[in-house]
Amino acid sequence: MSDVPLYSRYAIYGIVALLVIASATRLLLAYRNPAKDYTELRQRIQSWWWMIGILLVMLLASKTIAITFFGVLSFLALKEFFSIVPTRQADRRVLFWAYVAIAFQYYWIATDWYGMFIVFIPVYVFLLLPMRAVLIGETQGFIQALGTVHWGVMLCVFCVSHIAYLLVLPVQNVEAGYIGPVLFLLFITQFNDVCQYIWGKLLGRHKIIPKVSPKKTWEGFIGGLLSVTVVSGFVAPWLTPLDRAEGFVAGAFMAVAGFIGDVVLSSVKRDLHIKDSGTLIPGHGGILDRIDSLIYTAPLFFHYLRYLHY
């Protein structure tokens, strides 16, 4: 821990402090209302401890281990996606190659080959994966099957892999180190989820898209947007190369992007008539339920940062 750059270390202390507060609040609530069932809240917070614990161990272990970890995250997300969407039995080998693409994508990151990282999936996988399906020869449902596969690979591999590329960008903010921007991205994205939820619970009246997400309200969205913008403006200069003004802007568009990611994945689940995409994370659902907003914030934050400072 002592070799972690100063501001990243503070950020880690801060995140752990938030977890302690969450657990303490839960215990206090359970103590005050012994009759009420807090099982789901307990599961959610326990899962947060696990997720953050595993993430921090991986991030602090080494750069390669951290990149591999996000590769595994892509694999679990893509597997979950392929498991819930309609796929044709004939496409098993197409999906197999989609999984293989994950290893390549993260290898480009580990070797810091930006040009390949950025075109591999949108160009090579996009153009060549259909050829595997052509060789199988099942044309019934071809368009939908290939569209689904490519969408899954874009969301779960291409978008998610941007988190890992943040790790190999040259360090500009020495006090943050290479893990600083990743901590910032993950913290702001999850903080936005929590803020939109809390503001919605406190003030929520006017629904935004009742057909997709009946719990999403304008009050929650705007409350989240404002809180995240302010916090981001103050945290960004510590953890990233961004200055304060750039940090405010980053917070604002990440709040919007996180919201979009959330409702897009919600629409997918609505279409399939399922509530959660999996059961891997007790109290949260599946991997996709947890990273839905991150899928959108990761590439947007990455390219914003890269455009301004690299």
């Binding site: 597997k79 819930i84 796929t87 039995q89 197999f96 999984y99 999996g278 059961t279």
Partner: protein, 220 residues
């Protein structure tokens, strides 16, 4: 032939602890619903739909390593005992109870090994469809499980619906493609004298359980 030796117990622990459990956890990933309905000790019978060789391994992996030697998949003798090394593996590592599927064999002694295992407190795993069949479809159910119940009073069958394994590793395929799979455990079905009625109940139960799967496909 079907006695469990210390060597086979060790092999089983190694195979499941080092290969099957990590594979099921990471390569597949299970959504288990109603785990509390899983019978904790024998004698008991688990009956599942059958689409893949993985079915048996997934059902066995639901139990802790220490319980594994109690699990006895009932498997087709004509398939699993046909090749020598496969027979050795099926009998010693998996611990199957071979069942003769041909009609020629003597009816009354057909289930002797199953009864012996049940009386020893084992948990039988049966696939009433009799073979793996078309992916993700429930075929005709055979009545063997009804015979087992008839002879052992008070025993019930726990129906278990599996979904997704026929995509991960279907019949006649060697390439395993990772998918999350659903395991939905149903309420135990008690014995009813009418075999046809009993099998109908079981089929209904399996189809009902399949409906609560989250890894559904567009066509089911």
């Amino acid at each position: 032939m079907i006695e469990v030796t210390p060597l086979s117990r060790v092999l089983k622990l190694l195979f499941f602890g080092l290969i099957v459990k990590p594979l099921v956890l990471f390569g597949l990933g299970l959504n288990v619903f109603h785990r509390e309905r899983l019978p904790q000790r024998g004698p008991a019978i688990l009956a599942a739909n059958h689409n893949s060789h993985l079915d048996t391994l997934v059902l066995m992996s639901l139990y802790p390593l220490g319980q594994l030697h109690r699990l006895r998949p009932v498997a087709a003798a004509d398939y699993f005992l046909a090749k020598r090394w496969l027979a050795w593996f099926a009998l010693n590592v998996i611990g199957i109870i071979p069942l003769k599927r041909e009609r020629t064999s003597a009816r009354h002694s057909l289930f002797d090994d199953c009864y012996r295992a049940l009386d020893a407190g084992d948990i039988l795993i049966v696939f009433p469809e009799g073979s793996r069949g078309a992916p993700e479809q429930i075929g005709e159910l055979k009545r063997g499980v009804h015979h087992l119940l008839k002879a052992r009073e008070g025993l019930a069958v726990t129906p278990i619906a599996l979904h997704g394994l026929g995509r991960a590793l279907p019949k006649n395929e060697a390439l395993l493609v990772p998918f999350n799979c659903d395991v939905v455990i149903g309420e135990p079905l008690p014995y009813t004298p009418d075999a046809e009625e009993f099998m109908r109940q079981m089929k209904n139960s399996l189809q009902e359980l399949l409906r609560s799967c989250i890894t559904r496909r567009g066509d089911d």
